[in-house]
């Protein structure tokens, strides 16, 4: 198992390197020149060159000799040893792991994004708990009560949840809950450590919005898996042996049905930890998603790159954790 984890961890690093190269190529080979934008009216070549140097885009993107002299080479070096940004008679230090300086704010990207992580974590974890509890429960009950009013109602709601985009659900939720009924104030992020109750109160609508979307998916998936599993021969065998139905469901049915749920849950949670752009932006919550959106609207490539790498990190890590969990969830899987 340990060897497997080490081997996969090396794979994670390799994937992140590939993603960073691709992302770098996409954003830094983009035809926009942020230095030209910043230079403005009356821009002359000297000033343009000085601004390019300040932004760190005066070197070739990939191919330079020595390789550490390219933009990508400097970026990678910055990740491990930090880097200095020079320009206009001043040097700014960006300590390792350095993701560069934002073109928009001149601030180091990593601390700015790290400051937003608690918001994104709060949204993702709360929503995940909600959709797991409601989605999986609804799926199991629907499977066990197939064809009943409950099953049809639950699956109908699930179909709605899958079909409605979170942007729409969020706006409707705000309109109904905050504007029409005035049950809650418009959400603003409160630190958990400052006021746990208000933290939850302000995140309730974002959690419901995301949970509605994901729970629907999980309910349908769980139902399908449960129906398939409960029709297997070994379930019939278990029943024939006289096992109580609750034990048949919990030990033999559920465990097998949940394996694919664990896979998809890991990926979904990993993706959300990279920022729920639509939900965060509609609710005005300052997480990674809104950082990505603001960076995109300002062509702030270093921040876009930073968010992309963080999101990629969470997704590949979630994938790794899921694969490791398989060993515990699915008795057929062994890494020894």
């Amino acid at each position: 198992m340990l060897r497997y984890i080490i081997r996969r961890s090396i794979g994670v690093v390799a994937i992140l390197i590939v993603i960073s190269i691709i992302t770098f190529a996409i954003f830094f080979a983009y035809p926009s020149n942020p230095a030209l934008n910043a230079c403005g009216k009356g821009c002359n070549p000297d000033r343009l060159a000085a601004i390019e140097k300040k932004l760190g885009i005066d070197k070739p993107v990939f191919f330079a000799w020595p390789p550490s002299d390219s933009q990508y080479g400097k970026f990678v070096a910055g990740l491990f040893v930090g880097r200095d940004f020079e320009g206009g008679g001043s040097t700014e230090r960006c300590s390792a792991p350095c993701l560069g300086f934002s073109f928009a704010t001149d601030q180091p990207v990593r601390p700015a994004l790290m400051a937003r992580l608690p918001v994104t974590f709060s949204i993702a974890i709360g929503a995940a708990v909600m959709w797991l509890v409601f989605g999986v429960s609804a799926g199991i009950l629907s499977a066990l009560k197939k064809g009943t009013v409950f099953d049809r109602t639950a699956m109908g709601i699930a179909l709605g949840g899958v079909s409605l985009p979170s942007y729409f659900t969020a706006l409707i939720a705000l309109y109904l809950v905050c504007y029409r009924l005035r049950w809650l104030d418009y959400p603003t992020y409160v630190n958990f450590s400052d006021d746990p109750l208000n933290w939850a109160k302000n995140l309730l609508l974002p959690w419901i919005t995301l949970a509605f979307l994901f729970a629907a998916l999980y309910a349908r998936l769980t139902r399908a898996n449960m129906l398939e599993t409960m029709g297997e021969d070994y379930i019939r065998t278990a029943r024939a042996k006289g096992l109580p139905e609750s034990r048949v469901i919990a030990k033999h049915g559920l465990r097998a049905a949940l394996t694919p749920i664990v896979t998809i849950f890991g990926l979904d949670l990993g993706g959300l930890l990279g920022g729920a752009i639509l939900t965060e932006s509609v609710y005005g919550l300052p997480g990674l998603g809104t950082a990505a959106l603001q960076a995109i609207t300002k062509s702030d490539q270093p921040t876009i790159l930073g968010v992309t790498l963080i999101a990629a990190f969470f997704i590949v890590m979630a994938n790794l954790i899921v694969d490791v969990l398989y060993a515990f969830v699915d008795p057929k899987v062994s890494y020894s």
Binding site: P31, N33, G40, G89, S90, Y175, C178, G284, P286, T297
Partner: protein
């Protein structure tokens, strides 16, 4: 100045985002339709709801309309705009200086004297050296994004690389702590307006944190920054050392800014005006098209809005160096063909998009002359086809229009295609992402025959509209803003003549005449719309009017009913 950072104030991210790339001119207003509730009482907390963060609050980097308006709370320049709606708001008054400047040497030398008792937030007196330092740092590559008039106008400015490399700029003289003299390389009769830009706000050398100054500019205005988390929030409180200011009312005790909100949600919150949102106002977004219907039909909400033109002109440039468009007769024929009402509809209709434009200079720019050289808003395809035949293109031709991928830009492109199709001109639409739009059309080799664009003045003078857009010497290979690529000797000569005029009235009249002459003879652009915006505010907000120059609620005049 440019539009807001998100550009959502005018309803589209695409074109306005691209405007950031152009660092083009500012916004002015055509007057407020909302009746300001004026309490004149001090106290309370004003809340500002923003879609994005401020582009820059470092005064030397501040070049976006909403940030410039907000900057009135944090710093003062040598002159500033009156806190008024309509044309009164386009007039400047002394701010840190005692007067509007004393020109000599044919307006090539300008002297300003600072008021007594003006101080920074830490109580340090503001001196002429602080103003000089501020202007000098605007020329450093470390402090980009801001307007570059100082660099262009001051003797030696072009080669000056800023003060951080240990050299000062000799053409800014500070003979004593209260006097500052600017030596210009050419006469500029409206330099009093130039020094209203925050480029000319004081910065104390000892507290200049270079790129980090953006996070906490040292206040010379009525408020100081207490907290600022980029992209999230900001709080301001009173600067107790602010004094001797006749312009800013500074009514609220505190100002709280919330950033990163969805523009539709901002509208919804302000329409609801519940709880703390009763003290709130929007600044970098205006009422979205979907909200305007609700605003118009509900008298209570309508009473809490302020509307007017922003001073930005939306237009389509004709590249005068390309194919049939090299011929002015062809360009004139096309002017008769365009249906501007369709363009207005494409951008959301008269309430959301603005008024039909027929001139280059917006009504709020000094020198504006009211004329229409061509057809009414629906166009006259019959006459256009006759003129096109006479110009040698009886069967029309095929050309390309550059647009952004944003919906409004695409709708504009479709409307333009339809107008031109009626006279046999086939328009192909080339679409690029808004992030690279102005880089694309600013490359003179890549720019096609037509390009959708927008422009506003840096101060309400034609000198910040006509020269940058139509003077031949402004054409540069990349980052070009003369999108018509017009290089007409007669126009160039007239621009040079007017720029040297020191009589403001004569200059204004000459600019208006040149506007009409260019449109009649050269037809370099289709003027389409004088941009318009509607802002909603909470029940308790007082003193709201659309500032005559900024085209937004004047931050310096707002208050709240406690």
């Amino acid at each position: 100045m440019t539009l807001n950072n998100t550009g959502l104030r005018i309803g589209t991210a695409a074109v306005s985002l691209a405007l950031l790339a152009t660092a083009c001119g500012g916004s002015s207003s055509g007057g407020s339709k909302g009746k300001p509730v004026t309490s004149g009482k001090k106290g309370g907390e004003l809340s500002v709801l923003l879609v994005g963060d401020f582009e820059h609050l470092d005064p030397q980097r501040n070049y976006v309309s909403s940030a410039l308006d907000f900057g009135r709370l944090l710093y003062r320049q040598l002159t500033t705009y009156k806190s008024e709606a309509g044309s009164a708001g386009t007039e400047i008054v002394p701010d840190l200086a005692t007067n509007l400047g004393e020109p000599s040497d044919g307006a090539k030398t300008w002297k300003f004297t600072l008021k007594d008792g003006v101080k920074f937030e830490d109580g340090t007196p503001i001196t002429s050296a602080d103003v000089k330092w501020g202007v000098e740092r605007s020329m450093s590559a470390l402090i980009p994004d801001g307007p570059q008039y100082a660099k262009q106008y001051l003797v030696g400015g072009t080669d000056y690389k800023g003060p951080y490399e240990g050299k000062d700029l000799a053409s800014i003289e500070t003979p004593d702590a209260k006097t500052i003299i600017f030596k210009l390389n050419a006469p500029h009769g409206d330099f009093g307006y130039t020094v209203s830009l925050p480029t000319f706000a004081p910065v104390p050398k000892a507290k200049d944190t270079k790129v980090n100054y953006d996070n906490h500019p040292v206040s010379s205005g009525p408020y100081k920054i207490d907290t600022y988390v980029r992209g999230k929030s900001m709080t301001l409180s009173r600067n107790k050392n602010w004094s001797n200011d006749d312009v800013r009312k500074a009514l609220p005790d505190t100002i709280k800014v919330q950033m990163g909100l969805d523009p539709a949600v901002i509208d919804q919150r302000l329409i609801a005006s519940a709880g703390a949102d009763a003290n709130a106002i929007q600044l970098d977004s205006s009422a979205q098209t979907a909200s305007i219907a609700q605003v118009k039909t509900n008298p209570e909400i309508k009473a809490r809005t302020v509307a007017g033109t922003t001073g930005f002109l939306r237009y389509i440039a004709m590249n005068t160096t390309k194919g049939p468009l090299k011929n002015p007769k062809v360009r004139q024929a096309l002017e008769w063909a365009i249906n501007k009402t369709d363009q207005q509809t494409a951008r959301g209709g008269p309430d959301a998009a603005g008024d039909i434009a027929t001139t280059i200079l917006a009504p709020t720019v000094q020198g504006h002359k009211d004329y229409n050289a061509y057809a009414d808003a629906q166009g006259d395809p019959t006459k256009a086809k006759q003129l096109l035949s006479a110009a040698g293109y009886p069967n029309g031709f095929t050309a390309t229009l550059e647009a952004t991928t944003a919906k409004k830009s695409q709708d504009q492109a479709a409307a333009f295609q339809a107008s031109m199709k009626k006279i046999g001109v086939t328009i192909k639409v080339a679409s690029v992402d808004s992030g690279v739009y102005y880089t694309t059309i600013g490359d003179i080799k890549k720019e096609p025959e037509f390009a959708i664009a927008a422009w506003g003045p840096d101060w309400p003078s034609a000198s910040t509209v006509i020269p940058p857009l139509f003077e031949g010497k402004q054409i540069v290979p990349q980052g070009n803003q003369n999108f018509a690529q017009l290089n007409d000797p007669a126009t160039n000569a007239e621009i040079a003549r007017i720029t040297a005029l020191t009589d403001a009235n004569a200059a204004n009249k000459a600019w208006g005449d040149l506007d009409e002459k260019m449109m009649t003879e050269q037809a370099p652009i289709f003027p389409l719309l004088n941009d318009k915006a509607i802002f909603i505010y909470g029940k308790n907000v007082t003193g709201v009017f659309l500032h005559g120059f900024y085209g937004e609620p004047d931050m310096a005049a707002l208050g709240v009913m406690k």
